[in-house]
């Protein structure tokens, strides 16, 4: 446990002392502020649905930047050799890196809560879809960070890691379009791999265990593959 906390603290420091974290948070908030204001003034409707879809896209674009250094940097600088010759397991290393990155995603979501609070002060929003939207975003973030961590653990070049995860995210975003061209039962299988298909119900106020299960499964698979990639030396 002590080793895990030490690793977690190291990762948190690495993330929150890096300018990347603040650039990502700033870009995230500015873009959302713009969308929030515009949507509110144009529609005069107290809803965050547009904002949730915007955060969905922003997550696809920013998570690769957050996760790209996690293992790739350690591989490049060979500190992984130093780390994995101490009595810490690959699982501990991966979990510490995962939770630290997730904390930055959580911070971004926390900051976006300002818009929900503003909406609550200015009008009378339906809080149900807002809660479900945030649950969906948290689950989406968990899955994306796990995939980003996995691609980072495959290579020693951070840019390559970021491009790999971005490509995967974009593929999983539009994969349901591809499903339309496939015969049964492949079309259903491919459509169900889409991030958007599983996120849309959350953003519009519907909670399904199957959608939550999808994101949790992707997160667990990403973590498992990350551990395997780290153990493969």
């Amino acid at each position: 446990m002590r080793a895990f906390l030490a690793l977690l603290l190291k990762e948190e420091k690495a993330i929150f002392t890096s300018p990347i974290a603040y650039v990502v948070i700033a870009a995230f908030l500015v873009t959302m502020g713009y969308t929030f204001t515009l949507t509110l003034f144009v529609t005069h409707t107290p809803t965050l649905v547009h904002l949730f879809f915007q955060i969905y896209v922003l997550f696809l674009l920013t998570v690769p930047i957050i996760t790209m250094r996690l293992v790739a940097e350690e591989r490049h600088l060979r500190t992984l050799e130093l780390l994995l010759t101490t009595p810490v397991s690959e699982v501990t290393v991966i979990l510490a890196k995962y939770l630290a990155s997730l904390s930055l995603v959580g911070t971004m979501l926390l900051f976006s809560g300002i818009y929900a609070v503003t909406l609550g002060i200015l009008g009378q929003p339906d809080w149900g879809p807002i809660y479900s939207g945030y649950i969906g975003l948290a689950l989406l973030g968990s899955a994306l960070v796990a995939i980003g961590l996995f691609t980072s653990s495959l290579v020693s070049n951070q840019i390559v890691a970021a491009l790999l995860s971005l490509s995967l995210f974009l593929l999983l975003w539009i994969i349901d379009q591809l499903g339309n061209f496939l015969p049964d039962p492949f079309n259903a299988l491919v459509v169900n791999m889409s991030l958007l298909v599983h996120f849309r119900p959350f953003a519009t106020g519907s909670l399904f265990i199957s959608d939550a299960g999808f994101f949790i499964s992707v997160a667990l698979l990403g973590l498992f593959l990350s551990v395997r990639a780290l153990a493969h030396r």
Partner: protein
């Protein structure tokens, strides 16, 4: 003393290319062992397999009763490791790094603080204690890497090229530090610098092209010989020396006068060290014996012998 590290038929392949080929050796507790070989001979790969960082393609490594591959975490608890080229966390300060390495080894509180202070004193790191590692010179970085390996009271220290980048004074310091562990901790160090290994290690193993050529270069490379200074007729002295049981060969340096002391070299047959008998015979024959000294085998010569034998084979 019992063997603390046992390596049997170790093989490591990177794709089809074998980097380590059928290497077997054992190391006794408290021994200081050097792994000598040219760059690319497989030293670092063996070091990485000993620490559990790399899995072997074939073969087995045991530390005490533990298998390095299957009981990796327990083995790592017993090993302090300094990798080649000192990979360190550049953004951390020296004290942060040492505390971090102590924490992930399960140390804390007063025990950790004492260990960090002691390691810094041993490696003379007090002056750079609060400096970021990224701003340190190569010599200091090397010392920080060694300091982290000394934090816990490990049974085994594994150091890959530990004196790289150090100046002459620092090299002497590290050499004395490592020698001071002899008998207490098992030290395994790899180097391509022959003179360095010669001064630190009790026993030297030689590697070339992934093959272990000898597990004791001093014993295999050339047999120890006895140097004597005796007054007497050269031919008669040589005949008497050769007649001693166990003597394989006796030679003499050219003598300048019949009554002048002559220098003789005696080699024993393998497994025999009849030094007492040699002295007794010389004295019994009535020759004044001025000097009798066992000459240590020359490691440089041993290295050349072993590597040329391997090349010829």
């Amino acid at each position: 003393m019992s063997d603390i590290v046992v390596v049997e038929h170790l093989v490591k392949r990177y794709g089809p290319r074998p980097a380590v080929r059928d290497v077997s050796f054992s190391i006794a507790q408290g021994e200081v062992v050097g792994l000598l070989g040219p760059n690319g001979s497989g030293k670092s790969t063996i070091m990485r397999m000993l620490t559990g960082y790399l899995p072997p393609s074939e073969g087995m490594i045991r530390v005490g009763d533990l298998d390095v591959h299957t009981d990796s975490l327990a083995v790592r608890q017993r090993i302090g490791y300094v990798p080649e080229d000192t990979p360190l966390y550049e953004g951390m300060r020296v004290h942060e790094f040492l505390r971090f390495m102590g924490h992930i080894r399960g140390m804390s509180g007063r025990r950790l603080a004492t260990a960090v202070t002691a390691a810094c004193e041993q490696l003379q790191l007090q002056r750079v204690f609060k400096m970021p590692i990224g701003k340190l010179s190569r010599g200091y970085r090397q010392r920080v890497a060694i300091a982290q390996a000394l934090l816990d009271a490990h049974d085994i220290l594994i150091l890959d090229e530990p004196t790289n980048g150090l100046d002459a004074y620092q090299v002497i310091g590290i050499r004395e530090l490592l020698r001071s562990f002899a008998g207490q901790r098992t030290v395994i160090l790899a180097s391509h610098i022959l003179s360095e290994i010669e001064k630190i290690a009790d026993r030297v193993m030689i590697l070339a092209n992934g093959r272990l050529l000898t597990t004791d270069a001093r014993a295999d490379g050339s047999a120890p010989r006895i140097r004597l200074r005796i007054v007497g007729p050269s031919d008669a002295v040589l005949a008497d020396l050769r007649a001693v049981k166990g003597v394989a060969a006796a030679t003499a340096e050219p003598q300048h006068g019949r009554d002048q002391p002559g220098t003789y070299f005696v080699e024993f047959v393998p497994g025999v060290r009849a030094i007492g008998e040699l002295a007794r015979v010389i004295v019994a024959r009535g020759y004044p014996l001025l000097e009798l000294m066992e000459e240590k085998p020359d490691l440089e010569q041993a290295f050349l012998n072993v590597t040329s034998r391997a090349a010829a084979a």
